[in-house]
């Protein structure tokens, strides 16, 4: 029971993190003509944030809480 509640809370936190990362104003910080290893900054940022959110969800769901 405790485990379900914790996993659920982690998912809600992931949702909130995603909402902040994917939107103005954080998004605007990366909206500039720079490149990271040849990849435009905003493109790299959105995909990295996206991968982070998916990773956090997988972690929250799959991890066994001992």
């Amino acid at each position: 029971m405790q485990r379900r509640i914790l996993a659920g809370d982690r998912l809600i936190a992931t949702f909130l993190i995603g909402c902040v990362l994917f939107n103005y104003p954080l998004l605007s910080l990366f909206d500039r003509p720079l490149a990271l290893f040849g990849v435009p900054l905003i493109y790299a940022y959105v995909f990295a944030a996206w991968a982070l959110v998916v990773g956090l969800m997988a972690w929250a769901i799959e991890r066994r809480i001992s």
Binding site: G18, C19, D31, V39, W50, V54, A58, I61, E62
Partner: protein, 920 residues
């Protein structure tokens, strides 16, 4: 090589393969060995979200607006993080109430309303038909592109051809036939289609593989990776804005609106509701699918921008539509195999969407639009037909054909017009209108039927006015000044600057006004009056879906119905055989109570839910009411019953808690009892040994006393000797009793320990001093080897003295008279201090060395005829030493004396724990 026959054959073979997968899935489902019962397949079936709009359209969108294609996938990712809660609740509700579509869901929540279900169906059909048209356009467009291979010729936009010569017409027909075979082979009471889901999951894999393959080909085959493409872009200033900024026409508001819209669409698009909620096999699958599906979205989008940029660079200056880059780039490189793979991928994306969407829509049209009308208008005609399941199937098949033909019609009329390009988002905005009624309905008891009707209607009208009609105007179907001048020439009513609101893109504009109208009307009208009884009942079933409610629904039905009537009614829609089986199974579950003539509330409830699966909850309600004499419940009564139910829940929770506490208490008691019994056994053992040991001295005391009593003339010397023996035996007896008590205390853990840091040397010296008289009497010599300044140890001084006295007095006992030597050594080792007491007595045989530490065991006492000790000294000493974390043992060989050693750990930071512990 890629001529028409090849392309058509490949397409048909692929569709045949899909059908084989579906057939296999259905067969396995019938055998009870489902192939779709795992979270990966479930997540793949959700990926039906990715249509040709994703497969071809994302690249087109990226070519215009850079990363502007992404929010449509970020929204679903965020929503899936909440899927654990939202989808789980929806799945529970759907399974408990046998809901088969989103229209049924809303209608059922607000008291099983026909009008509401119909309205939802109309919004869904109007919103989705253009979306289906988009798929037809994409599939037919790619076929005609392929046919001109290897040249890249954009389809002629101005040419008009007859319907008979139009390939997309045949594609629509093939898809209709395909969907009919997939989705309406037989009538299922739960509307689940395992075969279809298997085929959709297969298609999702194909489109992902195809897209990633072409992405890798463009990025690493045509260019040298991501960096290379972006470097090329640097030399094209007109392309650079695509990769460096949020698209200007969209802005952050538009970006945000798209995230919200797509997040709602992934829940409420009829096809998404179908695969994620209705087709869900096991709610546990939601967990893993909740992150696998977003991962799928991430993967299918990685190569969108490289393909778009690669296409823009490659076809720079040529008239090649960016929507076709996915196909035309491999074509331009003469990659036949890859081109075909892309075509198959696009075909998968298109057909998957069309199949699931039309199945979902046809269920809605049948259950929430046609059946209610038939029930109202042709009730008499329906009465006469014995078996209506054929009619239901026919209605659904007809609906599928009509929906696809409407899609085709829209495609023909709209052609290449604006309306098709933006249609994906227009559809999303339409289904977003369901959100307040659904989410409100799942979490708020106060929503009413009137409120939901008002909200949906208001939102739908605003959507039509601000998004659909303007798209018609832009396509030229309406006068253009509708956009610029507004309705009736009123500037305030300009559809895309409603009431003068500017500064937003059209999607955000529509989202704002439609949700304002929708949510406002829903809340406002709901708050006008309290819910009716039927609404309150359904509200409880929905809002409390995640609680363990028990059969509340049955408690809320009061009336009389005949079992035979119900059976006949259900049989007419489901067929007699399956009805019999279902009723029999229900009777078995309830312990064979199926024989009664009169149906009770639970049976009525069961029959209604069976019917609801086939014809929708609202129609099922009407049909059941037609064969039962029902007493309507007032709102007060409903509230009363619901209160009782919730009180019962509270009581049962309380009861559960109490019972858990009782179980815990019982366990504790059992443990305590076991411990007591063990102690009791220990006590018994000691008692029996002790009694035996006590008997020996008592016997001798008694024997000597009797001698003294019976022989008054005994010599004085004898008398004194006997009295001396009596005294020493009495002393032994006292010692025995004291030590027994001491040992019992130690073993039961009730001994008093006064642990403190002390100097072991002092203890040894004190003990030796105390026993010096004994040594002198025996003429023995004691040698001490006690270094100064040793570390302190943690122990009980008196107890240690007891140990030392025991060892020393033992040694004295066995020393040879006159020549005895005892050597006491204190040493510091790594683990602690070691004390050894060595004597030059007779020694102890190896086999006796373990025995001497057992209670009441005395071995090989060669010096005296009878035992002189109690047999408890060494066991007690060993327990004392062990209590302080040390150990006590003996080293000896016969004839070479014996050395008793014990160690005690240093008083360090870790030591207190060892003292607190209780090794007994």
């Amino acid at each position: 090589m890629l001529e028409a026959p090849v392309v058509v054959t490949v397409a048909l073979v692929y569709l045949g393969l899909l059908f084989a997968v579906a057939w296999w899935g259905d067969k396995r489902a019938d055998q009870g060995r489902s192939i779709i019962a795992n979270p990966t397949i479930y997540a793949l079936s959700m990926a039906v979200y990715c249509t040709t709009w994703t497969f071809y359209g994302s690249v087109g969108r990226a070519a215009v607006s850079g990363i502007g294609f992404l929010p449509v996938y970020l929204g679903p990712t965020l929503v899936m993080a909440l899927g654990w809660f939202l989808l789980l609740k929806m799945v529970r509700i759907v399974k408990a109430n046998r809901i088969t579509s989103i229209a049924d869901f809303i209608s059922s929540r607000y008291g099983k309303s026909h009008r509401l279900g119909g309205l939802v169906t109309i919004i869904a059909v109007l919103g989705i038909i253009p979306y289906i048209a988009l798929q037809l356009k994409a599939v037919s467009g790619t076929v005609s592109l392929l046919l001109s291979y290897p040249d890249i010729v954009m389809p002629d936009r101005s040419a008009t051809m007859s319907v008979a010569a139009d390939m997309s017409f045949y594609i629509a027909l093939i898809l209709a036939a395909f969907t009919i075979v997939f989705g309406t082979r037989h009538l299922d009471a739960t509307e689940r289609h395992e075969g279809m889901v298997a085929a959709i999951a297969f298609e999702s894999s194909v489109k992902l593989v195809a897209f990633v393959t072409v992405g890798v080909f463009v990025t690493y085959g045509m260019y040298d990776g991501f960096g290379d493409i972006f470097e090329h872009i640097a030399t094209h200033p007109e392309l650079r804005r695509l990769v460096t900024a949020i698209p200007s026409g969209q802005g952050y508001t538009g970006w945000f609106s798209l995230i919200i819209l797509s997040g709602l669409a992934v829940l409420f698009l009829p096809r998404q509701f179908q695969v994620a909620v209705v087709e869900n096999v096991n709610e546990a699958h939601l967990k893993r699918a909740a992150w696998l599906f977003p991962l799928y979205l991430l993967l299918i989008n990685v190569f969108v921008l490289p393909i778009a940029l690669g296409g823009l660079l490659h076809f720079s200056g040529q008239a090649v539509d960016a929507d076709t880059f996915v196909l035309t780039l491999p074509m331009s490189q003469r990659q036949q195999g890859l081109t075909l793979l892309v075509f198959i991928g696009g075909l998968s994306a298109g057909t998957g969407m069309v199949i699931v969407e039309t199945i979902a829509l046809s269920t809605m049209v049948c259950n929430d639009l046609v059946m209610p009308l038939l029930l109202r208008r042709k009730a008499a005609a329906l009465e006469e037909r014995k078996d209506l399941s054929g009619l239901l199937l026919a209605i659904r098949r007809g609906a599928i054909v009509v929906i696809l033909l409407l899609g085709y019609l829209y495609f023909r009329l709209a052609g290449e017009a604006y309306a098709l390009v933006a249609i994906g988002l227009i559809s999303f905005s339409a289904v977003a209108q369901f959100a307040p009624a659904i989410i409100g309905g799942m979490y708020w008891r106060g929503g009413t039927r009137a409120g939901a009707l008002a909200g949906l209607s208001a939102g739908f009208l605003v959507w039509g006015y601000t998004l659909l009609l303007p798209s018609f105007a832009k396509s030229g179907w309406l006068p253009a000044d509708f956009l610029t001048q507004g309705l009736f020439g009123s500037e305030l009513l300009r559809p895309q600057q409603l009431f003068g609101l500017t500064g937003m893109d059209e999607i955000s504009h529509c989202l704002f006004w439609s949700s304002l109208a929708n949510i406002g009307a829903y809340l406002g009208v709901s708050l006008l009056r309290p819910p009716l009884a039927a609404e309150a009942t359904q509200a409880t079933l929905f809002v409390d879906a995640l609680k363990e409610t028990g059969p509340v629904g049955a408690a809320l039905w009061r009336g009389r119905a005949q079992v035979s009537d119900l059976r006949e009614l259900v049989g007419r829609f489901l067929g007699p055989t399956r009805t019999e089986a279902a009723f029999a199974a229900f009777a078995r579950r309830r312990g064979g109570k199926g024989a009664a003539l009169e149906a009770d509330a639970q049976l009525v409830q069961f029959a209604e839910s069976l019917l609801a699966g086939a014809i929708g909850s609202a129609s099922a309600r009407v049909m059941v009411a037609s064969v039962a004499k029902e007493e309507p419940l007032s709102l007060e009564e409903v509230m009363h019953i619901l209160d009782e139910a919730s009180q019962l829940r509270t009581y049962s929770r309380e009861l559960e808690r109490k019972s858990r506490e009782l179980t815990a208490a019982t366990r504790e008691l059992q443990d305590a009892n076991a411990r007591l019994q063990e102690l009791d056994k220990v006590k018994d053992d000691i008692m029996s040994s002790v009694t035996h040991e006590l008997r020996t001295p008592l016997t001798s005391i008694r024997a000597f006393s009797e001698l003294l009593r019976d022989d008054p003339k005994m010599h004085l010397a004898d008398r004194e000797r006997f009295l001396g023996l009596i005294v020493s035996e009495t002393e032994r007896l006292t010692r025995l009793i004291n030590q027994t008590l001491d040992l019992a205390k130690i073993e039961s853990g009730r001994a008093d320990w006064n642990g403190c840091e002390l100097d072991l040397k002092e203890v040894v010296e004190q003990s030796v001093a105390a026993t010096s008289q004994l040594f002198r009497e025996k003429g023995a010599h004691v040698e001490l080897d006690l270094p100064d300044n040793l570390p302190l140890i943690l122990a009980d001084r008196d107890r240690l003295v007891q140990v030392m006295l025991n060892l020393l007095s033992n040694a004295v006992k066995f020393l040879p008279p006159g020549s005895g030597r005892v050597h006491v050594v204190l040493r510091a080792l790594a683990e602690g201090l070691e004390v050894s007491v060595a004597d030059n007595g007779p020694g102890i045989r190896a086999e006796d060395q373990a025995l001497i530490f057992e209670k009441f065991r005395q071995v090989g006492d060669t010096m005296t005829a009878k035992p002189s000790g109690t047999g408890l000294g060494l066991p007690i000493s060993r327990r004392i030493v062990e209590h302080f974390g040390g150990r006590l043992w003996v080293e000896s060989a016969p004839g070479e004396g014996a050395t008793f050693r014990f160690t005690l750990p240093y008083a360090g930071p870790a030591e207190p724990a060892a003292v607190a512990g209780n090794p007994a």
